[in-house]
Symmetry: C2
C-alpha cells in the first residue's frame, strides 16, 4: 500500500502486454499478432507528406480526414451499412477506444458480460472503471455459449473472431444477443475480422445498441502507429466523445491521422497481403497437423494449438531456444495451448524447422 497513491491505484492490477524485444534481427517474432508485411507504400508517402512545420499546430481533434476515408471504404465494402461521418470514432489504438467505450456505456448500474477466455484487458478496464462484470465460460470446444449471453443482464462484449482461440462467431448468433439486449450496448471487438470472418457492419443501421471496434494494428500493418476506431449508431459515437473530451481532446496526432487515412484508402494492397496470410495459415495448420498438433479452427492472423504428447510450456521454451517467440498463457483451461501469429512463408517454415529440431517431429 503506497500512501501517496489513490485507493483505486492501490487496488488494481494492470494488464501485461506481450513481450516486445528491443532487437528482433535474429528472432522470429510471432507473439503479438503483428502483420508480417509492411504498411502500404502510400502510407509511407502520407507520413512524409505530413512532416512539415504544421506539426507546431494542434491536430484536428476529430480526425476528420480519417473518418472521410472510412466513410468511403465502408460505402464500397459494406454499402448496406449506410455509414456516414456521424457513425465513426477514432482513437489512439483500439485499446483506447475500448477503454472509452467501457467507461461510456457500463457502470455500477449496468454490469458487463464477457467470456472467460477472451482479450484479458476487458477485466482490467472493468477494475479501473469499477464496472461489475460477469464471466461466461466458453463451451468445452471453445465456442461461445450464445444462450448464456442472451439471458444475461447488462452489457455484452465479445471478441470476434475470439482471441486467443481464433474461433469466429456467426452473425445470426450476434443478432440473437443484440435482440435480447436492446437497452444495453453490445460491443463486438473485430480486431481480427479481416482474416476470415464477416464483419457485422451491416447490422449497425439495424441495431442502435451495436458498437463495433477494430484496429489498424493487425490487418493494416500499423501496430507501431496506434490507430483504432469504433462505429455504430450516432448516439453511441456521441457518448464516446463525451468521455474522450473529458479525458484528452487531442488523442490522434497529425501523422497518425494522415497514415490512417492512407491505410484505409489503400485497401486493395491490404486485401492482397491478407489473402497471403490466410493461405499461409492453412499451410501452417496442415504442417502442424502432420506433427500431431491439434489446432482450433482459426479465422484470425494467429492459431491456437496444442500437442497431445508435449506440454505447451515445454514447446514454448523449445521454440524460444530456436529464436522463435510465440505466446503462452499460464491460465486455467488454456495452459496446454500456444498462440502462434501467422508470419510470412519463411517465418512459418522456421517454426516447423524449430519443432523438428527440438522434438524430432
Amino acid at each position: 500500500m503506497n500512501e501517496l497513491w489513490s485507493a483505486l491505484t492501490n487496488s488494481i492490477t494492470p494488464y501485461v502486454p506481450g513481450e516486445q524485444p528491443k532487437n528482433i534481427d535474429n528472432l522470429v517474432k510471432l507473439n503479438t499478432n503483428e502483420n508480417p508485411y509492411p504498411p502500404a507504400p502510400a502510407v509511407f508517402d502520407a507520413i512524409k507528406g505530413a512532416v512539415n512545420s504544421s506539426l507546431r499546430l494542434y491536430p484536428d481533434c476529430n480526425a476528420t480526414c480519417m473518418i472521410e476515408s472510412l466513410v468511403r471504404f465502408y460505402n464500397i465494402k459494406h454499402p448496406n451499412a449506410k455509414l456516414d461521418d456521424s457513425n465513426f470514432f477514432i482513437g489512439n489504438g483500439s485499446d483506447e477506444v475500448l477503454a472509452f467505450a467501457l467507461r461510456a456505456f457500463y457502470g455500477q448500474e449496468r454490469p458487463l458480460n464477457m467470456n472467460d477466455i477472451t482479450y484479458s484487458f476487458y477485466t482490467v478496464y472493468c477494475d479501473l472503471f469499477q464496472i461489475p462484470y460477469v464471466i461466461h465460460p466458453l463451451k468445452e470446444d471453445f465456442t461461445i455459449d450464445v444462450d448464456s449471453f442472451v439471458n444475461a443482464k447488462g452489457g455484452v462484449i465479445v471478441t470476434n473472431p475470439n482471441a486467443p482461440t481464433g474461433i469466429y462467431l456467426d452473425i445470426e448468433s450476434i443478432k440473437k444477443i443484440l435482440d435480447n439486449h436492446k437497452k444495453d450496448v453490445v460491443i463486438i471487438d473485430e480486431a481480427y475480422i479481416d482474416f476470415g470472418g464477416t464483419s457485422c457492419a451491416d447490422l449497425v443501421c439495424e441495431y442502435d445498441n451495436l458498437l463495433i471496434i477494430t484496429t489498424l494494428s493487425k490487418s493494416r500493418s500499423l501496430a507501431g502507429l496506434r490507430i483504432g476506431y469504433a462505429y455504430g449508431n450516432k448516439s453511441l459515437i456521441e457518448g464516446l466523445n463525451v468521455i474522450k473530451n473529458s479525458f484528452n481532446s487531442y488523442t490522434m496526432d497529425r501523422i497518425a491521422q494522415a497514415a490512417g487515412a492512407a491505410a484505409i484508402d489503400n485497401w486493395e494492397y491490404y486485401d492482397i497481403i491478407t489473402d497471403k496470410i490466410i493461405e499461409d495459415r492453412e499451410i501452417l495448420c496442415e504442417n502442424l497437423a502432420k506433427m500431431g498438433f491439434i489446432t482450433l479452427p482459426s479465422s484470425a492472423n494467429f492459431i491456437f494449438t496444442t500437442h497431445p504428447d508435449y506440454h505447451a510450456k515445454d514447446i514454448y521454451d523449445a521454440l524460444r531456444r530456436q529464436g522463435v517467440i510465440v505466446r503462452y498463457f499460464n491460465k486455467p483451461r488454456i495452459s496446454e495451448y500456444l498462440r502462434i501469429t501467422i508470419g510470412d512463408k519463411e517465418q512459418n517454415i522456421r517454426i516447423v524447422e524449430a519443432l523438428n529440431k527440438e522434438f524430432g517431429l
Copy 2:
C-alpha cells in the same frame, strides 16, 4: 438522458478545446498557444528515419528512447535534480499525463485543490474520475493565494506559470505548499515554464510528493504530435504506470517517440526560438501598453490583457474581423480579458495593425 449511456456519461460535461480552423492560410492564429516556429530540423529527420516497415510492429510501451533523451537533458540543465530513467513517464500529450495523474493520486478519499482561474480541464477530469475538488480563488491581482493551499486538506494542482494569466509562482511558495502536503501528491503543471519561469525540477529529489508535468506542444513546437511527460519520485511514476497499463499499454507511437527524443536532444535550437518569443512578448506588451491595454506580467508564450475603454468581447470580434484569432473566455472575473498567444514578429505586428484599424488606437 440517453438510456444506452452509463450514468456517468449522462452526468458529465466535456472540455471544449480552443478553435482549430481547417484553413489558416489567411489567418493569424493566436488562440491556442502554439509556437510560431517550426520544430527543429533534426525532428523532421528523426520522423523520416522512423518511416519504415517496423511500423508494422508494436512500439516500446515505455518510450525508452525518449526517456533516455530526457535523462541526458535534465543532467545538463538541472544536474542538481539527479534524475534517472525511473523518474520519467511519457504520455500522449500532457492532457493524457494529467488525466492519468489525477486518477492515480486522488479520489473520494483525497480531494484535489486548485485555483478558480487555471487550466479548465482539471475540473473536467475530476468529474470524470469522481474526485471531489476545492476551488481557491486567485487574489485580486490574479496571483495565487499560497496560504489557502498550505492550509487545505488533500492534493494540490497548480499551473505554473498559470494559464490563462501567465503569472509565475516562485519556488519558495511551491516549497511551502509541498512542506504542508507531505502525504498528498502536489502536481505542478509546467506546460509554459520555458518562457520565463524557473522549473522546480531541483525539488524532485527533495520532495517525494512532487510531480511535475509538462508538454512538447508549446516550447518544443510539437502540438501536432501529442507528447507530454511527468517526472518525480520513482514511486509516483510507478503509480502512473499502474493506471496507464490499466487503460492503454501502448500510448506512444513509434514516430512520436522518435520525434520526441530528437526534440529533447536538440534543446539548443529551442533555446534560441524561446528567447525570440520572450523578446517579442515584451515588445508586444509595450505596443499594447501604448494603446492603453493593461497586461498581466507574463512568464508564458501568451499574454492576458484588458482595455479600460473597450469590452474584451468587442475587441475579440474586431480582431476576428481582421483575421486575427485570439482566445476569449466568457467566465466570471476574466470576461474583460483576452488571451493572446505570442506569434512571430510579423503576426505580432498584425495584432497592433488590426487594433489600430478597428479602434484607431
